[in-house]
């Protein structure tokens, strides 16, 4: 299944012009607030009629302004998980979950209810009322409700934005399972780098209504202004060092030592490294406290808008890593593309995948 979007939509203050396609997996729409992310998913979901454009899912046209096609939202079979869960207050959790069943027209709902309830861990909530649920529970029910309507694609508009850190951590694993098991393309709106780094297969960056970059998460995220020059390294857990409470990760760039992870040996993880947590050295650093030193070569140097800083992109044995340095450091070390350097990583945030 794939979703193709090519729309233009003008409002008083800005113009949305977006063109991309979302394959199975999770496509993150990433950008600052006001960049048009929500407008874009509202258009895909059928809540807003675009001025011009075409939207198709699996070749079936949902919107084609030139040919006058506009499929109303209730006939699109596109699930929508809203930021404010929007559960029906007069219905129990079970009735909320089964609301779409009347219209989906597919059989085997009982089995599906059981599997969705299991996937989201909401079995103990079925007979409760929405207003007695916590924010995290509400969002899980809202996700289940959208899934049970048998959608061909799922839209998620900052589903974690209204939750605190603990509740987010509670839901993220469920969204990962959804991405890997549900088999429908997910269009996920977010302005959080950590969420996108952890969840996304593909990233679409929106800047003031325009798509400025599309591609795999590792390539795109380091280009995003909001990511502060962060990079994503794919790795696996090589072993755990119980004596020092550390885990050793193997990645293309080399081994990384990080605080003990709960993931088992062999599990794939994504390491997210912020640009400002990377120092560069021309010689192998000795007798320093940092545990993680990766060898690489400078690929490109991008100065910041005001010229005070620069993002130095490295190639560490095929993996891309970005360091954010001051312009003075770049000059002092005479950094230039092709120059071998050692990257000292001060801290790593780890996201399981």
């Amino acid at each position: 299944m794939s979703l193709e979007v090519d729309v233009d939509h003008a409002r008083e203050t800005f113009h949305l012009a977006a063109r991309f396609s979302a394959a199975p997996g999770l496509t993150a729409l990433f950008g600052r607030s006001g960049s048009g992310k929500t407008t874009l998913v509202d258009i895909v979901g059928g809540l807003i009629r675009p001025d011009r454009g075409r939207i198709a899912i699996d070749g079936q046209v949902l919107v084609d302004t030139e040919r006058g096609v506009f499929v109303p939202k209730h006939r699109r079979r596109i699930g929508y998980v809203f930021q404010d869960s929007r559960l029906f207050p007069h219905l129990s959790v079970r009735s909320n979950l089964l609301y779409g069943r009347w219209f989906a027209g597919d059989g085997g709902t009982a089995a599906n209810l059981a599997s969705v309830v299991d996937l989201l861990g909401i079995g103990h909530l079925l007979d409760r009322r929405p207003d007695s649920l916590s924010g995290g529970e509400k969002q899980r029910v809202a996700i289940g409700r959208a899934l049970l309507a048998h959608p061909r694609a799922l839209l998620m508009d900052e589903p974690l934005a209204s939750l605190d850190e603990a509740r987010r951590a509670e839901i993220l694993p469920y969204i990962e399972r959804l991405r890997d098991e549900a088999g429908v393309p997910i269009l996920y709106v977010s302005h959080s780098v950590a969420e996108v780094a952890r969840l996304a297969t593909t990233v679409v960056i929106l800047t003031e209504g325009q798509v400025t970059a599309v591609g795999p998460v590792a390539d795109i995220l380091s280009q995003a202004e909001e990511s502060e020059g962060g990079s994503v390294l794919a790795a696996t857990v090589a072993r755990h060092d119980e004596a020092f409470q550390l885990s050793v990760l193997a990645s293309a760039a080399g081994e990384l030592q990080v605080p003990r992870l709960s993931a088992p040996v062999g599990a794939p993880v994504r390491a997210y490294i912020r640009g400002r947590d990377v120092m560069l050295s021309l010689r192998p650093p000795e007798e320093i406290s940092a545990l993680n030193v990766l060898a690489g070569k400078v690929v490109a140097i991008t100065p910041s808008a005001n010229g005070a800083q620069a993002d130095v992109r490295l190639d560490c044995n095929g993996a891309s890593l970005t360091a954010r340095l001051t312009a003075k450091s770049v000059q002092r070390l005479a950094l230039a593309p092709g120059r071998p350097v050692y990257a000292v990583i001060k801290s790593v945030s780890f996201e399981r995948s």
């Binding site: 979901g45 059928g46 809540l47 109303p72 939202k73 209730h74 006939r75 699109r76 079979r77 596109i78 699930g79 929508y80 809203f82 404010d84 929007r86 029906f88 207050p89 007069h90 609301y99 779409g100 009347w102 219209f103 989906a104 409760r128 009322r129 207003d131 007695s132 409700r145 959208a146 309507a149």
Partner: protein
């Protein structure tokens, strides 16, 4: 109470109940149009619905008489085509009460529909529900307290309606002589004071029961919606 008084009370209850139940579907439809619709002439419709609230009841009754009377254009049509006659029948009293109570009914329902979060309705739409289904399964249950409040107001107004009813269908014992009409008649004849007082007490009792009933019903629905 005299048999005549009992007849008037029974007739009033019949007229008020008929007027309320018959106008309820129209009231909900018009309230929805006014709350959610965007169309030309919306303020005209709004004014038209509210007109009986502002016009002297006698004027409303007279307008009903010349349009729904035996020789009125609508009355004649309904009589010829369907055999429905309003003039000087209890059905005419019910029509007069329905028209007089309609603004109160529509107003209460409209306000409660406007209070329903449209974002819930669009969420139901993305789950595959046709707009009519959205209305039946989301909007209507959520605005039910307002519908009940409107129906009670309409019922209470119908129990007390006098001017339009007496102008349109007169004051015929056993056919169109409702509770207020009989009270009026009793105050016009010598020795009628006791009967008028008895009916006044009955009227107060019915109003209080209706009000308490609506309060209980609304609370029960409210509790069901809020329940943990």
């Amino acid at each position: 109470m005299t048999p005549e008084e009992w007849t008037a009370v029974r007739l009033s209850l019949l007229v008020a109940t008929t007027a309320t139940l018959a106008s309820l579907p129209f009231g909900v439809a018009i309230a929805w149009l006014l709350a959610r619709g965007r169309f030309w002439g919306k303020s005209l419709l709004d004014t038209l619905v509210h007109l009986p609230l502002i016009l002297p009841p006698v004027v409303t009754g007279y307008l009903l008489l010349i349009s729904f009377g035996k020789r009125g254009p609508i009355g004649a049509f309904l009589d010829e085509q369907f055999g429905i006659v309003f003039s000087f029948r209890w059905t005419g009293a019910a029509l007069a009460c329905a028209v007089m109570g309609f603004p109160l009914l529509v107003r209460a329902i409209r306000l409660s529909i406007e209070a329903v979060d449209t974002r819930l309705e669009s969420a139901a739409g993305t789950l595959g529900a046709h707009p009519l289904w959205v209305f039946a399964t989301i909007t209507l249950p959520l605005c039910l307290p307002g519908v009940i409040a409107g129906a009670i107001l309409c019922f209470a107004k119908s129990m007390g309606e006098f001017g339009a009813t007496i102008t349109f269908v007169s004051n015929i014992p056993g056919e169109t002589q409702t509770l207020p009409s009989l009270i009026y008649t009793l105050t016009q004849i010598p020795g009628g004071d006791a009967g008028a007082m008895r009916l006044t007490l009955v009227s107060i009792a019915i109003s209080m029961v209706a009000l308490l009933g609506s309060e209980l019903l609304a609370r029960r629905i409210g509790v069901r919606q809020m329940a943990a």
